[in-house]
Amino acid sequence: MRYLKLISLFARASVQEETAYRANFAIGLLYSLLNLGTGVLGIFVLFGQVESVQGWSFASTLALLGVYLSVGAVRSLFIGPSLEALAGMDGDVWSGRLDFVLLRPVDTQFLASFRKWRIFSLFDLALGLGTLGVAVSRLGQTLSAARIAGFVIALAAAVAILYAILLAFTALVFWSPGVLFTWVFDGVFQMARYPLGLYPGWLRLLLTWVIPVGIITTVPAGMLSGASSPGALAGMVGLAVVLVGAASLLFRFGTRRYASASS
């Protein structure tokens, strides 16, 4: 309860901070629409040439794009900005301001994960969910309650996996400040725009087991199109639990290594 109150407090403070720069709002709107437009047109061009690729049709790939955009929106809503404030360029670890974070009487990982909000991303989330809606109507399948429930669970697990990966990358900063791990991850995460099946075998293994970015979008989208089995869903939920646990451990180890900055 106390944590929920804190979250709403953090969010409100962020809104106040953000609305001070109103011109950025229009620019953000433009970037969101560009992101959506290039994504949809990319799929449109591909499926203008071929009917389906490895069992993925236009509609199911569009559903996957919807998942990609939605999960990405949740990331930039709070996970991204919060962790960036910790480990990014001029972040708390670099400048030594983490002292003040560690001293607060709240769990450090909680504070590091929910501190900063970018409310504008709710618009991105709406675009992502809208894309999902259009894709589902194009799929032309009647969705049972069980499948919708499976999809929602898979989506939640997707967010959890993404959070765990980002937290782990953030924790690495305690060992090597200055190397921008999250930037590398951003590049790899773009690969989740397309289904795993569209990549060659070695890359598919890499994106499933080493940096499980592919699972984040492929399994939830497969729940909608019927390509994912219940086993895949169970595996994904298991992976999410394991990854969040492991990342939290790594983060705890990392904060112990932290030795403030200079002086």
């Binding site: 011109a23 950025n24 620019i27 433009l30 970037y31 560009l34 437009g37 290039t38 047109l41 990319g42 449109f44 061009v45 591909l46 203008g48 040439q49 071929v50 690729v53 490895q54 200055g178 190397v179 921008l180 930037w183 590398v184 951003d186 590049g187 790899v188 773009q190 690969m191 725009r193 397309y194 099946g197 569209l198 990549y199 060659p200 890359l203």
Partner: protein, 294 residues
């Protein structure tokens, strides 16, 4: 001027020359502090490495989108041909595109806007040299660093993915001027957009729009020949294809002689417009420019 005066005026110079020498002596005298010296060397080296890794990470990020489409199209083609291109030809096309895209991408355009906004243009304006040269020099330096990352990666990818390429001397000969013009067009097109920062504070939004258009129309999302109807006509007419896709198509042998002549004509036309707009923006803009801060 008397000898004495000359001696006086030369004195600081003499001191200046001996300063590093005496510093060296001091270092030698206090050479006990080897640990400190080593730490300094290691620190400097690390900071260089860090900068290099920073640039490598940027280059990595720029490489990913074409790489994704390489893999997607190669998988889609499988054992057959799409729009006359086989799997191996898609691989060759996109590997060439990764390099051409990096060579023609001008990162400096983003910094030009910042220089104007934060008033750092002052420093450059004081020099007896057009600020354009500053942009051009960092442009060149950047290319070397980025290609040092891209080339090995592309070679490794070529070994794994087995591209299919039929290089002819004629294609290579036509490719080089097309590449140079593509770079010039992309640079000056971005330059005049960036110079809009003289009037609007957030002109870099236009650069983002430009990046999206390049992604769609310059042959990244698909080779221009595979774009559907309206997109294809837009790609052929607008400048973006001539910034990236056109040289790549020449190298991979997808352009016939008529298309080649026509392409060069369109490329030169857009370049002339970009140069004219850059000159105009600069002349008008620099008059409006009033420095920010000291």
């Amino acid at each position: 001027m008397t000898n004495q005066q000359m001696g006086k005026s030369r004195k600081p110079f003499v001191v200046g020359a001996s300063a590093p020498f005496s510093a060296l002596k001091r270092i030698l005298r206090t050479s006990v502090n080897l640990r400190g010296g080593w730490a300094l060397i290691r620190g400097t080296w690390a900071s260089w490495l860090q900068y290099r890794s920073f640039f490598f990470i940027l280059a990595f990020g720029w490489m990913i989108p074409p790489l994704i489409y390489l893999l997607v199209w190669a998988t889609a083609a499988g054992g057959r041909a799409i729009g006359g291109m086989t799997r191996g030809e898609f691989v060759a096309y996109y590997l060439a595109l990764i390099l051409v895209n990096q060579i023609t991408y001008s990162q400096t355009n983003w910094t030009v806007g910042d220089l104007i906004r934060y008033g750092q243009m002052n420093r450059l304006l004081m020099r007896p040299l057009h600020p354009l040269f500053d942009a051009l020099s960092s442009e060149l330096a950047g290319k070397v660093v980025y290609l040092a990352f891209d080339l090995p990666v592309v070679i490794v990818l070529a070994l794994i993915l087995r591209p299919e390429m039929h290089l002819t001397p004629g294609n290579v000969l036509a490719f080089l001027p097309a590449l140079l013009l593509a770079w010039a067009l992309r640079f000056f097109w971005g330059y005049w957009l960036a110079l809009l920062a003289f009037w609007a504070t957030r002109a870099d939004a236009l650069l983002a729009v430009q990046d999206s258009l390049v992604f769609l129309l310059a042959g990244q999302v698909a080779p221009v020949a595979l774009l559907p109807g309206l997109l294809h006509s837009a790609a052929v007419a607008l400048p973006f294809r001539y910034m990236v896709g056109f040289p790549v198509e020449i190298l991979t042998g997808q352009v016939d002689p008529v298309g080649l002549a026509l392409g060069f004509a369109v490329q030169l036309g857009w370049l002339a417009l970009a140069l004219g707009l850059s000159a105009l923006m600069w002349r008008q803009g620099v008059r409006r420019y009033s420095a920010v801060g000291g």
